[in-house]
């Protein structure tokens, strides 16, 4: 009996990633990191800026996301996100660009608490990457 399930990441432009030999996914859910294994209960949650870790037979992968929704049902994990980057493909300058943007956003004074919190999160995550 295999302990694998299917994960699909889609962004508005295309289907970003489909994998069906995944053993565990860790997503940065809004109320803290959440690990998902096979036969998890059906769940819908949304993401805060952070790292998605995908553990599979064919190797582990890490992705940086800024927002999104996760839906898990019948051993299918769907992640909808508008901003996603594979960490391995991200070079230093890209990280710096994102960090700069996030810092600018976090320093704005006219935004509400939630956007402020999300922007702070972004900065924090990006800083740990460097």
């Amino acid at each position: 009996m295999s302990e694998e399930f299917k994960v699909e990441i889609v962004n508005p432009e295309k289907s970003f990633l489909v994998k069906d030999d995944v053993s565990e996914v860790v997503v940065p859910a809004f109320e803290g990191e959440m690990g998902i294994l096979k036969d998890h209960i059906s769940i819908i949650s949304f993401l805060k800026p952070g790292i998605i870790k995908i553990l599979s037979k064919s190797g582990d992968e890490n992705y940086y996301v800024e927002d999104g929704i996760v839906e898990f049902k019948n051993n299918n994990l769907s992640i909808l996100t508008s901003t996603i980057f594979k960490l391995a493909d991200m070079d230093k300058s890209k990280q710096q660009d994102l960090l700069k943007q996030a810092e600018e956003e976090a320093n704005k004074t006219d935004i509400n608490d939630q956007s402020k919190y999300l922007a702070d999160q972004k900065v924090e995550v990006l800083k740990t990457l460097n």
Partner: protein
């Protein structure tokens, strides 16, 4: 009757027009393929988004306090219409079809004594609407610099719509765009995005979900994203439709030019022959009279 020289010039000019329309057709065909591809690739996202929202809204226990983006403001006084057109012309009936659809909707709303506000996306729509509805247009957006429809642009429009909604500037929002069916058929669509119209859609699964955090909070986060997603979907459909429409329009133009060249060539040959015959008659009759 036009002189031989005139005919020759006209044939040359029609031929060069034909060359241009032919080139435009081929460019449109290449772009169409790309636009169609991205429209297809974009579908899973909006479908999944819809699914999740459907599941969520069914799970909501307290319908009264549901987010306003879902349930509406409770009245239907002010209508906002987002009319999405192209930035370039020469694409057949593409823009006029959307405008026609939009105008009949506008007329209906104004007849009912409701207030109308318009946002135009794409300069062609603005050109056509500002003559009649100039005072109703509150915003005029154009993405001339963006080569392809991208989510970033759609998000900008979506955020603007939501901002205006939260400021209480309108109650109902409808977007107008062309749905791509195939190269010759594009269907102008009016889609209501605020409040979300889920009626008639059956929930596929009765399965209950766990929500983290609770439904309301997820919904209030998700709904604004859904607006941008719907607008993005409309943009993708629109760009595929635009190229398809342009392709068939240019194909027609090329064919018409070909017919015209044929007609003119026959006329040219006839008048050339007539001139030769006339000259021959003159020579013969001259020789006979000697």
């Amino acid at each position: 009757m036009a002189s031989l020289d005139d005919l020759k010039k006209r044939i040359a000019s029609v031929k060069s027009t034909q060359k241009i329309t032919k080139a435009m057709k081929m460019v449109a065909a290449a772009k169409l393929r790309r636009a169609q591809e991205s429209a297809e690739k974009g579908r899973p996202y909006s479908e999944k988004m819809n699914n999740v929202i459907l599941n969520l809204s069914n799970g909501i226990s307290d319908k009264e306090n549901a987010p306003k983006l879902l349930s509406g403001t409770g009245q239907e006084k002010t209508h906002l219409c987002v009319v999405m057109t192209s930035d370039r012309g020469l694409c057949g009936g593409f823009n006029s079809n959307i405008i026609k659809k939009a105008k009949s909707y506008f007329a209906k709303i104004l007849d009912e004594g409701k207030e109308l506000k318009i946002i135009t996306v794409g300069s062609k729509g603005n050109d056509q609407l500002k003559r009649v509805y100039g005072d109703k247009i509150i915003e005029d957006i154009s993405f001339k610099e963006s080569k392809n429809a991208n989510y970033f642009d759609a998000d900008k429009v979506g955020k603007m719509v939501i901002e205006k909604f939260e400021a209480g500037e309108f109650d109902v929002c409808t977007i107008f765009y062309n749905q791509f069916k195939n190269v010759i058929t594009q269907i102008p669509q009016a889609q209501q995005i605020i409040p979300l119209n889920n009626e008639g859609e059956e929930n596929s699964s009765e399965e209950s979900y766990e929500f983290e955090p609770d439904e309301d909070e997820i919904l209030s986060n998700l709904l604004p994203k859904n607006i941008s997603t719907q607008i993005f979907k409309a943009m993708l459909e629109n760009s595929a439709s635009e190229q398809g429409s342009r392709m068939s329009a240019m194909d027609n133009a090329t064919r018409n030019a070909g017919e015209m060249v044929d007609k003119l060539t026959i006329e040219y040959n006839r008048s050339r022959q007539a001139a030769i015959t006339k000259e021959l008659i003159e020579i013969i009759s001259g020789a006979e009279s000697l």
